[in-house]
Symmetry: C2
Subunit: 343 residues, 2 copies
């Protein structure tokens, strides 16, 4: 494998010109062709490490991912679509994605910038806790660009790309109301996740708008796990079934369906259930779970684009984008004998 000076010699130009060709500098068309031909022949590609080093950057967008134990927060679509979205956006700008697995104790993200491992950070699975908040506040104070995905720290001024969880919660609940259900329970997720809070808010909005009461027993607390959904089902059975339950995520929705079924109650017949996320599981369970689809691909793409913009421009104007979600109707929220529209 040749180096740049070989190429320069071969093409009969200076090394600087070779560089210009590969980094989009101003070069005569003929020169460019000569250089590219030489590079092709000699099997030359610029050394990305040297390029980044000379440019004083890393060329990486870091992705903070919670390290094991099992990242039950995410669905496979979440991963593959979000990463694909991020990947597409960064590639267009010659950046790469650096995967950074971090346990909750390892929160010194600023270290990643100081060591020049990353030029910006996309943080997944962040919790709204005081520790997390102060970590991020420190990053922000230092002017280090980072972005949260589907997690809001209200009033923080952090960069955030979120799904319109409130609208999703509203749509889901409204759909149940439109089907004629009146007593509708809500199974929430941990309040440390803003999406859990927003989905609850959407639920409340729809209920209020419809003039439907929310009794204390209608508000159930889960932790986004299937198990907590299962247990919520048992609790609901003990206290008397509502017409419907809206679970703040699919995992709990599936748990609900399983819990109900074990006691002979069938979702989609005896009780309506709707989830959130449109994960694989929502199609796999029986009956198929109605849910709300979240545009992860798009969210990743936007997040990366905006971060790169901050890197290039040097500005740190906080961005905060909210992307629309979509209701997906399946059998779990049908009533007995009712014709339904499948999404």
């Amino acid at each position: 494998m040749a180096n740049r000076s070989d190429v320069a010699k071969w093409a009969g130009v200076s090394e600087a010109t070779v560089s210009r060709v590969f980094s989009g500098g101003a070069v005569k068309e003929a020169t460019k062709r000569k250089v590219l031909a030489a590079a092709e022949k000699l099997d030359y590609l610029p050394n990305a490490v040297a390029q980044n080093f000379a440019k004083g950057r890393s060329g990486h967008i870091g992705i903070i991912l919670p390290y094991l134990p099992k990242v039950r927060l995410f669905s496979v679509d979440y991963f593959s679509e979000l990463l694909s979205g991020l990947g597409e956006a960064v590639r267009e700008e010659g950046y790469d994605l650096l995967l950074l697995l971090r346990s909750p104790e390892e929160q010194d993200y600023s270290e990643l910038f100081r060591a020049r491992k990353v030029d910006a950070l996309v943080i997944l699975g962040a919790k709204d806790t005081p520790e997390q908040k102060s970590t991020l506040d420190a990053l922000k104070k230092e002017g280090l660009p980072f972005c949260l995905i589907d997690q809001q720290f209200t009033g923080s001024g952090f960069n955030e790309i979120i799904a319109d969880n409130t609208a999703g919660g509203y749509m889901a609940t409204q759909h149940l109301i439109a089907r004629g259900y009146r007593s509708i329970a809500f199974l929430g997720g941990p309040a440390t996740y803003s999406n859990a809070r927003d989905r609850l808010r959407g639920y409340k909005l729809a209920m209020e708008e419809a003039g439907l009461p929310i009794r204390d027993q209608d508000l159930l607390q889960g932790n986004f796990s299937r198990k907590s959904g299962y247990e919520a089902a048992l609790k609901l059975i003990r206290q008397g079934l509502p017409d419907a339950v809206f679970a703040a995520n699919d995992r709990m929705g599936v748990g609900l369906i399983q819990g109900f079924k074990e006691s002979g109650r069938l979702a989609g017949r005896d009780i309506a259930v709707i989830g959130f996320d449109n994960t694989d599981a929502s199609k796999m369970c029986d009956p198929a779970l109605s849910t709300v689809d979240v545009p992860y691909f798009e969210m990743g793409k936007v997040a990366a684009k905006r971060l790169l913009q901050q890197i290039f421009s040097g500005d740190r104007l906080p961005f905060h984008e909210r992307l629309p979600v979509q209701l997906v109707v399946r059998h779990s929220c049908a009533r007995a004998g009712e014709g339904i529209i499948l999404g």
Copy 2:
């Protein structure tokens, strides 16, 4: 943020000594303490890009991931566990993971090495096709270290970390046989994946060993998708149900269960079903799907360790490790009224 010469001045040593402290060179304990104190005070960390540049390496292990459309090949556990395993192993050696999303057309992996973006490659989701094979052959010929995960190219001499799919197929089938089933169908995956082929082989081994016949109609061809499982169920119903079906992955297993159910046949009562992978979906569906658990975390860890070893030592002795899998018994393969052991 300070640089190395600041630290050197502050600690009263040469810059070379500062470097030695941070890269584990020979330094007196007292000197080391002085330097670390200075670095701490001045908030200094070595520039990783410069380090890698000077060392003539990238410091990255690349992970090739199939780019959208939806990576239905993988489960969420596959991702999170495999990546965690890889991440753990590389961190111990100061390496990082570079995520590389590539569509099937973008197969010029050697470019990644020439541009010094990676020092080694872990390739996920590779298919055993002539094109893929020749791409990888070229890499191997150039002495570029890469490793395949759960995919074998027989006789290629590629580095491969695989699950013992044959044993898994054997165990699953044997379990069905032990329960007294005699007519056992197999729903296979694409033959371009060696794990699909090996799972079939395990099935055949167990059937032969038990002296059970494999009729033509017992061998069904799927494509690892839920839909293909669903369609296989319909086909089986048309041609007359066997006692049991072993699906080469969970996704198809779930599809089978759904297909059977829609025609009033209940898995775990009217027919036994078993899958492979121990994905989330296997717990979510109804009845819960028996399956075979694959040690992805461990596979990732081993793959990374072995690759790093090749990088450091410079040797290219091919490695080829096969990790054990485990049967997970759930309701889908029980017979009516039969007590089962849950895994």
